[in-house]
């Protein structure tokens, strides 16, 4: 693949321009091999829609979320203060996040530490682009596919965003199915609350196995996700169940980016 052009905040700012949006990439977005593709996909969408945005690049650092959820408030606040200083330094007003954990913490927990921004989840942002025809998508691109969607806890139950990702997916002409546990009844993938970074406690099975069985029960060819951790867990779950031939896990940004029309 070729390099894609992404505006860097320090450079754009040095030219005296203040971008409308900061695209907060997040650590998984920057480093996770699988999720890097999702970051690329979303950047392609932003470029296709001519959005005035920038990323922090090497100036970005962890929001402190996994530390906070694991009880390390000291480390969290050190990270948060650093991020807020950077963002306020650039006069950032609007932040777009892909990761729901970054989204939740910047939106809900940064204001009390001095970081007040309009925080937008990329699912809502893409929905808007599609609704306003700011990007052209081949609606037949996923024809004959059955798709289901897994709600990330920090997006759905946490922040009440259930419809935006569904609208993005259902924009396509597809066979859409809900899982039996869905929306506010949705089952966690097993990675939240810093579980992503440790082995699970002793039990009968992994949470991702349980959730993958919900996915498989729909008979979907694609399970769409909107969170890097959910992606890791469900991809593992599908591998574990030996169903890689039948069903793949894709991010909603990838569904759109792969079907962008010039």
């Amino acid at each position: 693949m070729t390099k894609i052009d992404v505006p860097i905040m320090a450079e754009v700012s040095a030219q005296g321009h203040q971008p409308e949006y900061l695209f907060w990439v997040g650590c998984a977005g920057a480093f996770d091999k699988r999720y890097q593709k999702v970051t690329r996909a979303f950047a392609q969408i932003l470029n296709a829609a001519n959005i005035d945005y920038a990323v922090l690049g090497t100036e970005e650092t962890c929001t402190g979320d996994p530390a906070k959820r694991a009880g390390n408030e000291m480390l969290f606040q050190m990270q948060a203060m650093q991020v807020i200083e950077t963002l306020n330094g650039y006069g950032v007003k609007k932040v777009i996040c892909t990761c729901p954990h970054c989204f939740n913490i910047i939106k809900n927990e940064y204001p009390e530490l001095g970081g007040d921004y309009e925080v937008i989840h990329y699912s809502a942002f893409i929905q808007q682009l599609v609704d306003r025809d700011q990007i052209k998508v081949n609606l037949e691109g996923l024809k004959n596919k059955r798709i289901t969607y897994h709600d990330p806890c920090y997006l759905g139950r946490g922040n009440g965003i259930y419809e935006a990702p569904r609208k993005v997916i259902n924009h396509f002409n597809i066979d859409y199915r809900e899982m039996k546990r869905t929306k506010s009844f949705s089952l966690c993938c097993g990675a939240g609350g810093a579980q992503m970074f440790k082995e699970a406690e002793k039990g009968q099975k992994e949470v991702y196995e349980e959730r993958t069985s919900d996915v498989l029960a729909t008979g979907a060819n694609i399970v769409a996700t909107a969170c890097p951790f959910c992606m890791t867990m469900l991809t593992d779950g599908i591998k574990f169940a030996n169903k890689e031939e039948e069903v793949i896990n894709m991010d909603i940004a990838e569904l759109i980016a792969q079907n962008l029309m010039e």
Binding site: G57, T61, G71, F76, N104, G190, G193, M196, F197, Q204
Partner: protein
């Protein structure tokens, strides 16, 4: 004479109840204070919706509706109980009949609800005693907990039976002169034979049985999980208005971080050590956590949806609040040498939580489990430095590289290339 006896019993019942409340108040005094945000109107609307409207319990449509009917019945019937207290003190009969047409409504709905509640309670008892409902099982539900549940339901069943007996005999005794309307009792009256018994004696029997059961039940409640009849409304009123995944930052840490970032940490006067960081025992929890514990009626909707619990891990969100209440009772008696964290709640339970908030979403009374779990993790990490190794490695990565994985910040734009 009757009035005097009744008044003495009434005063005694209230006095004993106040004594129990006094102890609970003392327990609240042990807990940590958090400021009230003053959003009264928002909270009243929430209470109307979630508590009075029963919106969250209705997430299970059938059994939720049964509970909602019992709850709404309870409200209507409580008006009747107040009337009985006034009747008892004054010696009048059906004193609220001065309300006129409104009384007809109160009496009629009270009568109908008595039967509805009875049906609901019989169903609930059957589910508890005969059926194996998974959420009524679990390590935290000891024999004592299960007996408590059955006793509470038994009380309500007897309350409804005595109320129904009272209504039927009253209709028999006064016929159309009786203030109010009692549709189901009047309809059932022909099926009862009053020829061999003195209906007046029966009426006194039912009246006294019903009112004494109320007094006994009210005084049983502070020691029962069924205390939720007192706590549910205030607990919803004071519950979280923020998004479910909002976890407040610790203000006491904020001061330390500000000092460290300003570079004055070593010169500054030592911060006044507040309490300990996080939660180790019941004196570290907030008054709202304790209110949650008093409100929990152990229905298990939280545990039933917990991903950790579903997959066989030790964590059961319900257990946290059962444990808080037990530990508080112990602490208020003698309780030194033990702690909530360690003696009641294990580290293994705490580290199994994914903070998915399915438990908090499901709780009909808006109890918040995950934030309490994270407050206990805060104690483990900030006071004991006691986190699983992998999490310590994650902390170190964030400190050194600004990411939870071992990647350098220099590589943060690699995704644009490959």
């Amino acid at each position: 004479m009757n009035q005097l006896v009744f008044t003495i019993i009434l005063i005694a019942a209230i006095a004993i109840l106040l004594r129990s409340f006094w102890q609970i108040r003392a327990n609240f005094a042990l807990t940590r204070d958090v400021a009230f945000d003053g959003q009264v109107m928002k909270r009243l609307r929430l209470t109307a919706k979630v508590a009075l409207g029963q919106t969250k319990i209705l997430r299970k449509p059938f059994i939720g509706l049964m509970h909602a009917l019992v709850f709404w019945g309870f409200i209507v019937i409580t008006i009747g109980s107040l009337e009985m207290v006034i009747d008892g003190v004054s010696g009048w009969h059906r004193s609220f009949s001065v309300l006129g047409p409104l009384y007809t409504l109160i009496a009629a709905s009270g009568d109908i609800f008595a039967y509805v509640v009875l049906a609901g309670i019989i169903l609930f008892l059957a589910r508890r005693l005969l059926m194996h409902v998974r959420r009524f099982e679990g390590a935290e539900l000891t024999k004592a907990n299960k007996t408590d549940a059955a006793i509470a339901l038994g009380f309500i069943m007897l309350l409804m039976l005595s109320l129904i007996g009272l209504n039927i005999t009253d209709v028999y005794l006064h016929g159309s002169d009786l203030p109010g309307t009692y549709p189901i009792s009047a309809w059932l009256l022909p099926y009862f034979d009053f020829s061999t018994i003195d209906a007046r004696v029966m009426y006194r029997f039912y009246w006294w049985t019903h009112i004494l059961l109320i007094f006994i039940f009210a005084n049983y409640l502070p020691y029962s999980k069924h205390f939720h009849v007192f706590m549910s409304l205030p607990n919803v009123f004071f519950s979280n208005l923020n998004p479910l995944t909002y976890l407040p930052s610790m203000p006491e840490v904020q001061k330390e971080v500000a000092l460290m970032l300003s570079g004055n940490a070593y010169n500054a006067a030592p911060l006044e050590q507040p309490q300990r960081f996080g939660v180790k025992d019941v004196e570290d929890i907030t008054w709202k956590n304790y209110m949650d514990a008093l409100t929990c009626t152990q229905c298990g909707r939280c545990t039933e949806v917990c991903p950790a619990n579903i997959t066989g891990k030790l964590l059961s969100p319900r257990k946290l609040f059962v444990d808080i209440r037990a530990r508080m009772d112990e602490k208020s008696k003698n309780g030194s040498g033990k702690f909530l964290l360690g003696d009641y709640i294990s580290k293994e339970e705490l580290w199994a939580c994914t903070t998915c908030n399915a438990c908090a979403q499901e709780c009909p009374l808006n109890i918040s489990h995950p934030n309490l779990i994270m407050d206990m993790r805060r104690y483990l990490v900030l006071e004991e430095g006691d986190a699983p190794d992998e999490l310590n490695a994650m902390f170190a990565n964030i400190e050194n590289n600004g990411a939870p994985w071992k990647y350098s910040a220099e590589d943060r734009l690699k995704w644009t290339e490959a």
